[in-house]
């Protein structure tokens, strides 16, 4: 690991000033960053440790009906917060389907958003990677790429964003609160992560020094609690990243869908909101035929980036299954194998 200076700021403002310097990087739990530093993939000159900052580890219910999650809340604490899990069950299930219990105890909300891709060529410093080293090329393009992107990719980069958490958050219109050199601002989570285009090294809308201080769910997000699921296919049932995942959330009134939310994970450089699919579900009965049409729309623009054409059909089926599970109703308890299509809980309509 390359040597670095360590700085522990006393305030958010001090942190922003320190992290805005070239070569500086924020440190939260470090569950991804330290791994990247050990491999020589990330080589910061200075770590700005935000874990001792006050006031960033609260889950606040807002007067308007929304919720504000501090950036330093751990994945485990958020998923196991009874009121949060009841109000946003797909978010809790997504959190519990990610990583291992040890990592969930350490990993933070802010860090989850800013974790890096798990593309093997990004991790292997002997390989060419436009994300790690702009302009060097992409060895994933002709390499082992069965898990790579099928939506929003470019010739320069076919990596995916690995977060489970971001998938239901994007579906529920999450907002990211950022402290930066020019003060506080907020952006939609959907606009935080960038698609690769010609600049895959620029992964987010962040400027130097920007610090995630909180993630907010708007009041409307609570309205999907009765019909919300996260479903995740992975190469092994636990402790693995998604090959394809989907968050589905419905509001059903008088036998018809009043509003639908759908996002996909493991398919692009960001959690992929499927608005065209949501549109066709509005006002119709929650039937398999309707869900199949939604799935078709969600993947209309998908194309393989390598040996991964199977992911397109898999994604369609996961969408139908996730919507079917959501329509059947949020279970009283998260299944023993969170988000697994192999969970013993019934209620799935096979696609």
């Amino acid at each position: 690991m390359k040597p670095f200076d360590y700085f522990r700021p006393g305030t958010v403002a001090e942190a922003v000033v320190a992290a805005a310097q070239p070569g500086a990087s924020y440190l939260a739990a470090g569950t991804n960053l330290l791994d990247l530093m050990k491999g020589g993939v990330s080589r910061p000159d200075r770590l700005v440790d935000v874990t001792h900052l006050d006031g960033l580890d609260q889950i606040e219910r807002l007067a308007d009906g929304g919720v504000r999650i501090g950036a330093l809340v751990s994945n485990a604490d958020l998923a196991h917060d009874a009121d949060f899990a009841k109000s946003y069950p797909a978010v809790a299930e997504a959190l519990l389907s990610g990583a291992s219990a040890q990592l969930r105890n350490a990993a933070t909300v802010g860090g989850n958003l800013l974790q890096r891709t798990r593309c093997a060529y990004f991790y292997d410093t002997a390989s060419r990677c436009n994300k790690r080293e702009a302009g060097s090329g992409c060895d994933a393009r002709d390499g082992e790429n069965r898990t790579h992107a099928v939506l929003g990719w470019s010739e320069n980069c076919i990596a995916t964003h690995p977060s489970d958490f971001c998938v239901p958050l994007v579906a529920l219109d999450a907002i990211v609160e950022i402290e930066g050199r020019n003060g506080r601002r907020e952006i939609a989570l959907d606009e935080l992560h960038r698609l690769p285009g010609d600049t895959p090294e620029r992964e987010t809308a962040f400027e130097p020094g920007d610090l995630v201080v909180a993630v907010r769910l708007p009041p409307a997000a609570r309205g999907f609690a009765a019909h919300a699921r996260y479903l995740k296919v992975r190469d092994r049932t636990s402790y693995a990243f998604a090959v394809v995942s989907a968050a589905a959330a419905l509001q059903i009134e008088n036998g018809k869908i009043r509003e639908a939310r759908l996002a996909l994970g493991g398919v692009a450089a960001k959690a992929w909101r499927a608005r065209a699919a949501e549109d066709v579900l509005r006002g119709v009965a929650p039937t398999v035929a309707a869900f199949q049409e939604a799935a078709r729309r969600a993947l209309t623009d998908a194309k393989p980036s390598g040996d991964n054409a199977f992911k397109i059909e898999l994604a369609r089926r996961i969408v139908v299954r996730a919507l079917s599970l959501a329509a059947a109703g949020t279970p009283a308890r998260i299944p023993a194998l969170p988000a697994s299509p192999f969970a013993s809980t019934s209620g799935a309509i096979h696609a």
Partner: protein, 165 residues
């Protein structure tokens, strides 16, 4: 630049001067305190052999910078027994052959102890397997590990009930 930190390790307060911020909690425990029960397996957060409790919660000590955990309360495998009396989880691993070579065992036991305080698994073997998926066992002693956890949990639940009766 040197950094001073203090940690409580297995109940004892310890002060450290770090001349390099790169040292992980794992390396600090093994090389500065010679507490070698906590194992270095992958050193990348994948195998769970380095699992310890920090402020009561299980984490991978290989992915934790010591300097960032200034003030933390740490429990390692060396701190779970009371004198010669094994922790019930240790005894259950022996009773159920929850290991073969033993390399992953301290991490498995610390993870299982952490899991019990999280109270998410209950007595459901499927849930225990899921909650223990961050600990790999190359020998494949998983069946014994699940039995040990179930047994230790039942015994400790019973003991708690006796205490509160």
């Amino acid at each position: 630049m040197n950094h001073s930190i203090s940690l409580t390790v297995n109940g004892a307060r310890r002060e450290f001067v770090l001349d390099d911020p790169r040292v992980s909690l794992l390396d600090l425990l093994r090389e500065r305190l010679h507490l070698t029960g906590t194992k270095k397996g992958c050193d990348r957060g994948q195998c769970g052999a380095c699992t310890i409790l920090v402020d009561g919660k299980r984490i991978n000590s290989c992915l934790a910078l010591a300097i960032s955990h200034d003030g933390a309360d740490i429990l390692t495998i060396e701190g779970v027994a009371r004198g010669d009396q094994l922790h019930p989880m240790q005894a259950a691993f022996i009773a159920h052959d929850g290991f073969q070579c033993g390399f992953c065992t301290p991490g498995q036991i610390m993870s299982a102890i952490g899991m019990m305080s999280e109270a998410q698994a209950g007595n459901d073997p499927e849930r225990i397997r899921e909650c223990m998926s961050g600990n790999l066992c190359r020998c494949g002693a998983y069946a014994g590990i699940v039995d040990a956890v179930l047994d230790a949990q039942a015994g400790m639940d019973e003991a708690n009930q006796r205490r509160s009766a």
